[in-house]
């Protein structure tokens, strides 16, 4: 409650010794030199809120520019363009890996972020990860009801991104040397167009895995539902090399 009290009521209050009004229960503190201080927790919360506001603003701008009708088609040029827009805003923000996680949580859990569109959200989170100061980032997405697409897009060399939970389509596409670990399942088109780096998916992976992949390695702890047209690179299923290997035909169930 932030109530402002009017000065007019001064007359009705008394200090020590006055028997005509209520006694000030705090009178010994009357002379205490009050300074508006902030306790450390307040400062942390305030600064975290400021950063979150900036991150949220960037996401809203991205939606405004790239998903005007709240429809976003995954095409090569739309992804590139969205990523460029995201980069533009993110470069201005001083944030930490924890802020990225907070943003992921806020995507579904606050009224402040009106729309969660899995494509742009994934592009934006990927850009946040790629420009983060930390080399190692953990995103706890297991609580999210929506699976985010495009996580790990263009993850650069010397970055390691761990996702706790499942990811959507296009996970780790255009990977640029980073290491992407998905603790749950990944959907279709994982690792599409990746150039180098490694993707670990602890559980199962969908169709078109490694489509137009140019290099790097994909390790799958569970089942690979189908491989894409792979140009170069390796795919392992439960430690067994499945590409290059016997299965040459894309998207065949084997």
């Amino acid at each position: 409650m932030k109530s402002i009290h009017s000065p007019e009521r001064t007359s009705s209050r008394c200090t020590d010794g006055d028997l005509h009004g209520p006694r000030n229960p705090f009178e010994e503190f009357q002379t205490f030199a009050f300074q508006k201080r902030e306790i450390p927790l307040d400062q942390i919360v305030q600064s975290a809120e400021q950063v979150m506001d900036q991150i949220r603003l960037g996401y809203e701008k991205l939606l405004e520019e790239e998903a005007k009708e709240l429809v976003w088609m995954v095409q090569y040029n739309t992804i590139i363009k969205a990523y460029e827009v995201a980069e533009r805003y993110i470069k201005e923000i001083d944030y930490t890996a924890e802020d990225i996680e907070d943003f992921c949580f806020a995507l579904e859990n606050t009224q402040k972020i009106p729309y969660l569109i899995p494509g742009p959200a994934g592009i934006y989170i990927s850009a946040l990860c790629n420009y983060a100061k930390e080399g190692e980032i953990v995103l706890k997405l297991s609580e999210l009801k929506t699976e985010i697409n495009l996580i790990g897009f263009r993850l650069p060399k010397e970055k390691r991104l761990t996702v706790e939970g499942d990811t959507g389509d296009f996970t780790g596409i255009s990977l640029e040397g980073g290491e992407l670990v998905v603790e749950g399942n990944a959907k279709n088109w994982t690792g599409a167009g990746m150039r180098s780096g490694k993707i670990w998916v602890k559980k199962n992976i969908g169709l078109h895995t490694g489509e137009w992949m140019m290099g790097g390695e994909i390790y799958v702890g569970g089942r690979v539902r189908g491989l894409g047209n792979i140009v170069e690179g390796k795919v392992f299923e439960r430690d067994k090399l499945v590409y290059p290997g016997k299965v040459r035909y894309p998207n065949q169930y084997y």
């Binding site: 009521r9 503190f29 205490f32």
Partner: protein, 454 residues
């Protein structure tokens, strides 16, 4: 001389009353009540039983002394009462009330004057207990619960009523002793418990001091004087009005005080000395930290976000935001007597140590003893902590732990809390400020104390 070796308490005023009180402390400790120090205040070791009993005598307080049988609960109170009020020990013995199931109002407070009653007149013969300033109730928890209420008013206000008559003790202190629960004890009723300012334990002094106690006989005789005892007895049983007895009693007490000064070198306190001490003590106030800390404690012992205040009949709400505070660990609400007791004893302690203000150390030292008997902990807290390693009785240990935890909390938040109280004061005076926000219950309580604008 050894008994006047008070060098450890070097900061008390030269030739002040503090020196005399500390001399009494040392005399009791070295000659009458052998025990080890069990608390440290500002680097000085003290025995809590002697210290708090001295403060009880000086400040007109009410003390409950608990402990195992034969560990000096009653004798410590008798010695201190004798030296602070210049009363011969025999007089104190003769006025003690002992708790037992057959105790009656006539033995505690007064009885009809049978001679006058035969002549058709109604008059009261007051007991010595109701008349003398040092009141000792031995084994109070052997009084049945129904009979404990007989002494409630007398204990609280010093007014003793019988038939249609009443006497009021202007100056009195109360010591009650209680054994731990056994077959013959009863529970002390909550209203009576709350009337005690402090609870201390008279502890086992250790085998070596205990051995010494066995060797030193006749220590009771030091504080006895049959002549003065008879004189006092004569005054107390005389038929004159109680108000007229007081100056006569005082005269005899002064004579006994002079006798003690000559024989043991200790100068007990005359009435004017006690009054002077009390007037000096009353000038001491809590500094801002001590005040804010005490308010913090009171708020934690009374706050309930859900039901407005703690009530013994209501349980905490599941998932309450304030579960980290003391309010979540206790069942009952702090009484208004608690801050009075804290201030009384902290004032006395600060005065005794020669300090000009009551600070955090003083309140932290007295609080556990003011609190321990007044808090009713939840069963889960009791079962969590009952096996913890400790030196104190369980209730005092729990209170000490609570004060320690609270002190840590206060250190973290002190500046912001004081700011919030200062802002509260300014808002109360009408300044257009905003309340300071904070998580502690005290912030909510500050808002509640600002009446709404009409």
């Amino acid at each position: 001389m050894d008994l006047l070796n008070i060098g450890r308490v070097s900061y008390v005023k030269e030739n002040g009353y503090q020196t005399r009180i500390m001399a009494i402390y040392q005399f009791i400790n070295h000659h009458l009540y052998f025990n080890r120090p069990d608390i440290e205040i500002k680097g000085e070791p003290f025995n809590s039983t002697i210290l708090f009993s001295l403060l009880t005598g000086l400040m007109k307080g009410k003390e409950l002394i608990i402990g195992e049988p034969g560990l000096g609960k009653t004798t410590s109170a008798e010695f201190i009462g004798s030296l602070i009020y210049q009363l011969p020990l025999g007089m104190i013995w003769g006025s003690e009330v002992s708790g037992h199931p057959e105790q009656t109002e006539e033995k505690i407070i007064g009885r009809p004057d049978l001679g006058k009653l035969n002549r058709g007149q109604e008059d009261v013969v007051w007991t010595h207990f109701s008349q003398i300033p040092v009141k000792i109730v031995d084994e109070i928890n052997r009084l049945p619960e129904t009979k404990q209420s007989m002494i409630l008013d007398g204990v609280d206000r010093g007014n003793w009523e019988y038939l249609n008559e009443m006497i009021i003790n202007e100056e009195y202190c109360l010591f009650a002793t209680a054994n731990y629960q056994d077959g013959g004890t009863n529970t002390i009723i909550a209203p009576l418990v709350d009337r005690f300012d402090v609870v201390v334990e008279s502890r086992y002094p250790g085998p070596n001091l205990s051995f010494l106690i066995g060797k030193s006989r006749r220590k009771d005789q030091i504080l006895r004087n049959p002549k003065h005892e008879k004189d006092l007895y004569r005054v107390l049983t005389s038929k004159i009005a109680y108000e007229k007895k007081i100056p006569q009693m005082e005269e005899i007490c002064n004579a006994f005080g002079d006798y003690l000064h000559k024989t043991i070198g200790i100068k007990p306190l005359r009435k004017e000395d006690r009054e002077q001490i009390r007037s000096e003590v009353e000038t001491l106030d809590l500094d801002l930290d001590a005040s804010a800390f005490t308010r913090m404690l009171l708020s934690e012992l009374s706050f309930c976000d859900r039901y407005g205040q703690k009530r013994i009949i209501e349980n905490c709400e599941e998932g309450c935001h304030f579960s980290g505070y003391l309010c979540h660990e206790i069942k009952n609400c702090a009484s208004n007597r608690l801050p009075t007791s804290i201030k009384l004893y902290a004032q006395g302690l600060a005065w005794l140590l020669g300090d000009s203000e009551i600070d955090m150390e003083h309140v932290k030292a007295v609080m556990p003893y003011n609190l321990s008997h007044r808090i009713q902990w939840k069963d889960e807290i009791l079962s969590q902590k009952e096996r913890a390693k400790r030196d104190d009785p369980f209730q005092i240990y729990l209170a000490k732990e609570a004060v320690k935890t609270l002190s840590h909390r206060y250190q973290e938040q002190s500046e912001h809390l004081k700011d919030a109280l200062a802002v509260g004061s300014k808002i109360f005076q009408g300044e257009p400020l905003e309340f300071l926000e904070g998580d502690h219950p005290l912030y909510t309580e500050i808002r509640k104390d600002i009446p709404p604008i009409k």
